[in-house]
Symmetry: C2
Subunit: 393 residues, 2 copies
């Protein structure tokens, strides 16, 4: 019988951020960068610990300058100064935002001018799975101003740092996984024929809150007769009844770290082809878990799952991959897919996410979360039951 | 006695999207654009109705092409095709994402090439309060490919459309406001001395779910002895006790539309200076509500509130403005501040958000939400009590 562990206290120790900065600065020499500038919520939090939901407001840009030598500089709207002062960052420079004609551009420019210049290159979030969170018109203007610097893609460096998690990070991801696991386990007794997908969404969100989730940024809830054809749009007002398969996928957070795994529920006894497909994705998950170890790559992981699904008659999958990294965000690089070829190393947290279309327009997807350890992997979700839970009428 | 209204059914009618496209196409001639390309969650949903929480995953870019003539084109990852097919969009073009070497760039480029060219300009989300949600390295590459087109700032056009809300949108914002109002009203009886801010966060989120919120993207919960010094970072593990002022600010959604307003609660009888400051911000809110009418500007609205606060001895405010637009996002243009000068017109939904520092490091902020109507404004939040609710030990 699984039980919810006592959660770690909220907030990471300062040593965590010191380590991150040290790793970043070491890597910046190899990447030939004089600084890295980050603007996006998860990257700002990664370096500073600044934790806010204020990113939901698109009004003001924020900039953290990570120099190759010395301390972080926060170039931020004045509304953020008292909150930033709660973190380990001490060099905080503000402007009276919003100020649409010059929202931080001049202040950031003067900050960059004072950097120690060796390579003439500054990294920005210009690459894969990253976004620069500022008006691109302002970014273009800044590129024009900084004639002594080339702005280059700093995303590979950022992902190189973030892809391996510390034990403190793993404890928080594990807590989020346990919270969602307990919530999924409690759900069947609360579901009823006649519920809409929105009703189910509310029920699972209440469970997550009761079990200690801080936020629920992602809760896909969707359904279909004998399977579903997609896994990202829902809930809707659709009412659940006999023959329906309900799919839920949760990205709930604890202390800023996310889980990401799904579960399937049958309304009434599922048809034989659904049972067979469920057995195939459950076995594919076993194969994925067994393959997840140092020495293997993300592509090996994909191959181990794909072999099981192909043998079971898979007609394909529109998801494009079978799992990915997990951390502050519910999906992070790398991807379990052909061509990715990322070596698995201890400290990576991965989702194992096989799925298959087993009849035209009908698919099933399954997912668990694991930590790569020296001798294999550690399962941090409560393993889904081999047979799909059935909600009786 | 206020009561929760029956919520509108989830999902907007197709006519809403037809109207949006017609308004956009008309404006595109005035803005001399052959097309607008949108990539960010709220803009994609504005034009298509595509409603997903999958934006939390940063892996794949999405593109909606709004041509000056003809129908919308969705250029999206194949994982999104079945979900997009549920919307009114019929021209859906996909690529097998993730595909980091060419994530939609070629497919979007060929789509743009087939546009009817008159002005040689394509608008993108390059300006104020907007972000291009794709790797900027890919955006730069695309700019290089599209030699026949200039990529220009399409943000003014987007905000020109989004700033005025339809009655269907207003009904949803109003529902979100009623849900949060009912949740705030129920909260005092559930709070106790000794609660942490995280405990309070969980209690208010549970209330919001019980009252019918779909999601809670923003819930700032913070506190301080006799006031607070910032309004965006929290909750923390801080424990509430006598003399503390608790501040909560909520952006909860119903059917994809948000509320945005805050409330203050006193733990034990507040000190006299807190009472005086609360009376001032309550009166400033009255002044703001009375000033919110067609013919006035956002700057007039700010002035009406600032007059009351200055008379009450305000020492300033680090927020930078006193309210803003509200809709799909919890903050949208315009801003109630000097220099903004946006004329208020019927259908705009605004927050009225005065605040003041009344002693060093101690501020109070207050907020209500209104719809601008022909003859003034309609309050859509349940007006805060004139005296701060007191939580007894």
């Amino acid at each position: 019988m699984n039980t919810l562990p006592i959660p770690p206290a909220h907030g990471l120790p300062t040593s965590e951020f010191q380590d991150r900065l040290a790793r970043a600065q070491k890597a910046m020499t190899a990447h030939e960068l004089d600084a890295l500038v980050v603007t996006a919520p998860h990257n700002v939090r990664y370096f500073t610990g600044f934790n806010t939901q204020f990113w939901e407001s698109p009004t003001r840009p924020w900039f953290i300058v990570v120099p190759r030598q010395g301390e972080l500089v926060a170039v931020i709207p004045e509304i953020g100064a008292p909150g930033m002062a709660l973190t380990w960052v001490t060099d905080i420079r503000t402007w009276p935002a919003p100020q649409p004609d010059d929202d931080g551009v001049s202040l950031l420019s003067s900050t960059l001018s004072s950097l120690k210049r060796q390579f003439g290159r500054i990294g920005w979030e210009m690459g894969r799975e990253q976004v620069i969170r500022m008006p691109i018109g302002d970014f273009d203007r800044l590129r024009g101003l900084e004639r002594g610097y080339e702005f280059v893609n700093g995303s590979p460096l950022i992902w190189e740092l973030r892809i391996v998690k510390s034990e403190a990070e793993i404890a928080r991801i594990s807590q989020a996984c346990a919270i969602a696991s307990a919530s999924y386990a409690a759900l069947p007794s609360k579901l009823a024929h006649g519920d809409t997908e929105y009703d189910v969404s509310r029920k699972i969100r209440l469970e997550l809150m009761e079990n200690g989730a801080d936020t629920v940024p992602f809760a896909a809830v969707l359904s279909g007769q004998g399977g579903y054809d997609q896994i990202i749009v829902g809930p809707s007002e659709r009412r659940l009844g006999a023959g329906d398969i309900l799919f839920i996928d949760l990205g709930a957070t604890y202390d800023g770290y996310s889980c990401d795994f799904d579960r399937n529920f049958a309304f009434g006894t599922p048809a034989d082809d659904v049972k067979r497909a469920h057995e195939a994705i459950w076995q594919a998950t076993e194969a994925g878990i067994n393959a997840a170890r140092p020495g293997a790559t993300t592509t090996d992981l994909w191959r181990a799952m794909a072999n099981v699904l192909e043998a079971a008659g898979s007609k394909g999958l529109n998801v494009g991959r079978m799992g990915h990294g997990l951390g502050m965000q519910l999906t992070e690089p790398p991807s379990n897919m052909p061509g990715d070829d990322t070596p698995l190393i201890p400290g990576m947290v991965m989702t194992i996410e096989p799925g298959m279309e087993f009849a035209p327009g009908k698919m099933l997807v399954h997912e668990e979360n694991v930590v790569i350890r020296e001798d294999g992997c550690e399962l941090i979700t409560w393993r889904a039951p081999r047979e799909m839970p059935v909600i009786e009428a």
